[in-house]
Symmetry: C2
Subunit: 345 residues, 2 copies
């Protein structure tokens, strides 16, 4: 079965994916940071039992976190299935994953439960529906830590309330190249939103891919949070699209030259760092979205899928062995060469 | 009929071509700088008559210099058929060309006659034979300005004697990249030799292509001049070859990466300046000679031919119209894309 990021998507010229995360805690236990290993382990089994026995349209699988190699864990972080903190936990943790990895439940991350749902493209409604489905399914059997006035109670105050963090992963090469992204980043805090790089807090935007999400959940309804985030993202999307058109009409040849050269480097390079590959794939995605690069495939081309597969840990998983940095850069070039969709000439 | 530089050549991994030029003057006339237009014109017709009526294995054609456009003239300079000074002459000049452009006779350049012969690859003997053939053919009908003690008399003292300038066009990317070329350039004067860029005195080496030639002809026999030049060139060729092998064995992956990326840029760029194109073609030639790039063609690949065709004036001749610089850079990228030999993938 294809993972969600390997599937082709429409309506993802700027918004690559939409993500919802719900933070929940069980009423009868301390927050994870205060748990004994024994109790932590009991919570893991309790939640696993509920989800795996529940009747759901999704097929869920229990991951044995202790059996996973460090490489497997980092690969899952790169795929946004789990958070970096989660794989470094000192107490027993659990992970339940849907087959396409679009749905995941982290047990004993910062909160007892982190329900996560990702959808391809600009589609937060679907992501929220799927997260709520799991939330409902759990709530039938579990009593959540909930306060009438405050809402869902969480380990970190920023998550108290709806426990909802919603985010869009956006590809904004035109805004970044022209320096306009900086202004957006500065203005966005006023809307209670934050922008981070593709790999979470503090990480740089690579390949012009960024995540935009709400910062605080207290005092707002789910609908308000999502409406606010979507409205601001919509404005960014429109700015990015009109800037792309402007650049294309004003400097078409330079634009085509840059896009084709990047495609040429992806096609022929023998050594590719992950940073360079991300930049080249970003150019390729831009060229594809603008109709400069025409591929032999008639279905939509999934460039974000390639971006994911060439991250260090996932690449090593593809190669089925651990690789030194220099070996990785060679393996990455080979992998890209073998998996790059061909353009019409 | 193919021009000499369009033909495939063997033994040209380092030495692209071998060239001989003989300076000759007619006894009964002043040197060109002192000629009236009338006399200059008479000399042109006299020489044209002799060559075109002579029985030769070569088919010669008379070029009407006054009828040629400035673009045609610059294109001939780029093809090394004539010298830059020749096309700027203020007195009547004449040009006789063999069909493949390997043989040319400039009439009223600095001397009355400049007989030039180019051969593909490392082959100065053939070039000299062909030049001597024309020289003999002319000497049957013309009395040259000749002094028993001094030899052939010429307008510039550096040509007095044999009137011979012999040169090799060499492609030395490994020597240039490693900075070793600089030492060779400094040492070479002691052997009475000089190194210049691909487009004559003062011009930079572009695409790592240089011309090495003798500086003085007085006091040396033809054989000595050629033996000296060939012996020094042989040493340069061996140094270049062993340096290529060394670089390849020590940094094979980086080498392949660079060569393939250059080929990728040639294949996909939409804008190419002539400087960049020369550099990329130089990398491609190096990759080809070292067996890194394997082409679909089974015959030898002629990269120097491409280097010639993409020079500004020749490119405009190919496009059959005058082009502004930006138009040229686009036309150059298109021309290269259409004419680049395909590699096996």
């Amino acid at each position: 079965m294809l993972k969600w990021y390997e599937k082709n998507a429409n309506n993802n010229d700027v918004v690559i994916s939409s993500r919802v995360r719900l933070a929940r805690n069980l009423e009868t236990y301390h927050f994870p940071s205060k748990l004994t290993k024994e109790i932590a382990s009991r919570i893991v089994h309790e939640v696993e039992d509920i989800v795996l026995k529940a009747s759901s349209s999704h097929y869920f699988e229990r991951m044995d976190m202790e059996a996973l190699s460090p490489l497997d864990k980092v690969a899952m972080v790169e795929r946004h299935v789990v958070s970096p903190n989660f794989v470094q936990s000192s107490i027993p943790t659990g992970l339940i994953l849907s087959e396409d990895e679009s749905l995941s439940i982290m047990i004993n991350e910062e909160d007892h439960l982190r329900i996560q749902s990702i959808s391809n493209g600009f589609n937060l409604e679907e992501a929220l529906q799927n997260a709520n489905h799991i939330d409902d399914l759990l709530e039938e059997k579990i009593t959540y830590a909930y306060d009438e006035r405050m809402g869902y109670l969480t380990a970190c105050p920023t998550n108290v309330g709806t426990g909802l963090r919603a985010s869009y992963m956006i590809h904004v090469p035109a805004l970044e190249t022209t320096g306009k992204l900086q202004f957006i980043l500065e203005a966005i805090g006023k809307f209670g939103l934050t922008v981070r790089g593709i790999y979470g807090e503090g990480s740089q935007g690579r390949g012009s891919v960024f995540q935009i999400s709400n910062q605080v959940t207290l005092g707002h309804s789910e609908e308000e949070i999502i409406e606010n985030l979507t409205s601001v993202t919509n404005q960014i999307v429109e700015q990015e699209r009109s800037l792309r058109k402007k650049l294309l009409s004003e400097k078409r040849m330079q634009f085509e030259d840059a896009v084709y050269r990047s495609y040429g480097a992806l096609t022929y390079a023998r050594i590719l760092s992950s940073n360079e590959a991300m930049t080249l794939l970003s150019d390729m995605k831009l060229g594809y979205e603008l109709g400069i690069l025409n591929f032999e495939h008639t279905e939509p081309i999934n460039i974000y899928g390639l971006m994911t597969c060439i991250q260090p840990a996932n690449l090593q998983k593809e190669m089925k062995r651990e690789l030194k940095i220099e070996e990785r850069d060679m393996a990455r070039a080979t992998f890209i060469r073998q998996n790059l969709p061909k353009i019409k000439t």
